[in-house]
Amino acid sequence: MARSIVGFLVLLLFLSFCEVASFFQPISDPHRSAALELFSLDHGSFESLEETYEALRTFDLLGIEKKPDVTATACRLISEAVGSSSSTPKDLFYALKANSIAKCAIEDKAFQGIIKRLNAAVDGASSLLDFHYSVGGLVLIKSYKADVHLANADGIFRSVKAFSQSDGRWRYSSNNPESCAFAAGIALETLAGVVSFASSELDQSLISTLNDDISKLFDSIEKYDDGTLYFDDKLVDGHDHQGPLATTSSVVRGLTAFAAVSDGSLNLPGNKILELANFFLGIGVPGDAKDLFNQIDSLALLESNRVSIPLILSLPSTVLSLTKKDSLQVKVNTVFGSNAPPLTVKLVGAFTSDSKDASLVESQELVFDAGTGLHNLNNLPKSIDIGSYSFVFEIVLHKSEHEKVYVTGGQKKVPIFVSGLIRIENAEISILDSDLGSIETQKKLDLAGQSAVSLSANHLQKLRVSFKLTTPRGHAFKPHQALLKLRHESKVEHIFVVGNSGEHFEIVLNFLGLVEKFFYLSGRYDIELTVGDVVMENSLLRAIGHIELDLPEPPEKAPRPPPQPVDPYSRYGPKAEITHIFRAPEKRPKEELSFAFLGLTFLPLLGFLIGVSLACITFMFSFNQQKLSRVGVNLKNFPTNTVAATFAILFHVGIGAVLLLYVFFWLKLDLFQTLKVLGLLGVFLVLVGHRILSYLAATSAKLKSA
């Protein structure tokens, strides 16, 4: 035991000089709200006993108060599983695990039944998982009934150990040749359970071989670039692939269970525990319920394990503003955010990308504020100007006995940004003559305000923009972006980088050389200046004015400007309005003229009627005088016979009706309606006409013959 402690300290001292490159935030409120969201009851019940246990354990560890419906659901599921005789050992295992948190009442008779079934399961177990559930179940019952014991502990230990491989991993069963670290975690947990039952009976050498297995398992540990460690299985067929989080969490469970029963014989470097803790913290807030459970459960086991407790250094804010006179604040907690033992945080050094080894500040201690629990550095040293730095911190524990219990991880490098306001002075824009360099126009730029300058130039001149940038501490500053953009009316843009020498920034555009680059486009160019950097609090992107540029005509082979990108959604927008060209309406004559001719049309009719009456009168006059018995059809020869007279009237009425129908046809009706009516009228007219005309013919024939 003393040897292991010494070995421990040596390792710790050695590892304390290693730099760990990143930092993580401990578990806090985002995890709590995620837990409430992910472990919500689906249709009033959890899907399985495993999920019930995971939910209860997560809520318990995060300190979330259990809602009554959650507890009620859990108790219902547990009592169902415990009472049913068809529950598998897996169901019983998870039911008992859930009950250790939910603390529902279980009858003594039920316990007896469970014990009997689990013992039978242990006897009949053939695979790793069978042993895991049955032995695990019995271990859990031990907390209720102390007189439970495991028969043949030695035999069980050896059976489980038989599944182990030489590289520290375990197989699931003798049939399955694949081994994985996930199974190793399960096996360690099971073996820890066996040991807890009957440590005196077991052979101590067997237990110590487990230590070798664990160290071999740690040989296969994997590492991310930032130093965090994790376990992952690379299985040939991926259907059982658990992922690094589940695998690492299973191993951590097994390790901590075994460390709890092995009385400190486990020789694990504290720094590895810290890096495993960092792996879990580095996940942030998982989006999956099982991932969240694995993360929280593993961190809880790491926090209270008997090997070493990791301490996490974190910063509430890594961006400090010189303008607001922010102070550097550092927090040191355990993984679950609880208070650390008394310690001091030392700022060992501050480095930039230029000064690799030379620290810009002296090594100094941060002041601890017991009220807020933060370590502060109130005034940033004058040597810290704006920019991005790498601050190196070290945790020094006050009590030496704590160094056995806690692991701090040596020196921590944290990236810090220091921002501030950059002074922009002497900003001016001018037009110069190309040959002599003499200034034709010079205007001062007010980059803080909204004023715009208006200039004009031709291709023989140059444009110069210059300004001076200084940091709050008075040093020269080179921003990431110092750009000048000229945009033509036709949306063609040209961007130029503003060069500098120290504090002085200047760009000279010689239009003579740029004529071709500008595609010979003359006209108005809008000028825009961009000065920006991530640590500059007053980055600016400003339109400073416009310049009327007069360039020569393009020659024939001059390059055309590139086509400007068309907004791809413009083709879904409204199209141009179409103006329809209608045929101009015909010129109509004046109404009076039309009416005049209408009247004129009736004249021939009038003439006809007058002529007919004159002719009849003349005829009757001559008839009376001459008393001619002319043979001929007299127009006025209206039959006197009443039947014939009726038909004659009907004939005339029929014709009149047809003509009236035609008038209606022109006014209102359509052809088909007219034809329908005409059909009826026509039949009538034909019948009547035939009667009267045949009667007339007969009478005139009689007259003729007579």
């Binding site: 004559p589 001719f597 021939p604 001929g632 035609y662 006409g689």
Partner: protein, 116 residues
């Protein structure tokens, strides 16, 4: 001398035409008047069209053709009714009149349709 004689000839021609025409029956005179009326109406319509343009051309055609059509039918009637015409000796004039009425009705139906 020649002119005077031609003038006299024209005058003599007209006088003989008038006296011959006076001998025609009343019916035929009425039919002639009807034909004259129809033709005059057509002429007035043509003059109107010449003055104001042929914009709705179908109306113009309809009007003119109905006048001309009815004139033609009346001429047919006159031919068939005229007793001095040996060709239609056996055709009763009532039959001819019935034909005239029927054809006019059909003509005017078509013309009203075309009038628009």
């Amino acid at each position: 001398m020649g002119r005077a004689s031609s003038k006299e000839d024209v005058g003599a021609l007209f006088r003989s035409l008038r006296s011959a025409y006076a001998a025609t029956t009343l019916n035929l005179k009425i039919i002639d008047l009807y034909v004259g009326f129809a033709i005059f109406t057509a002429l007035i319509q043509v003059v109107y069209m010449v003055m104001v343009g042929s914009f709705p051309f179908n109306s113009f055609l309809s009007g003119v053709l109905s006048c001309v059509g009815t004139a033609v039918l009346a001429v047919c009637l006159r031919i068939q009714v005229n007793k001095e015409n040996k060709e239609f000796k056996d055709l009763p004039p009532e039959r001819a009149f019935a034909d005239f009425v029927l054809c006019n009705l059909v003509l005017h139906l078509v013309m009203i349709n075309f009038l628009g």
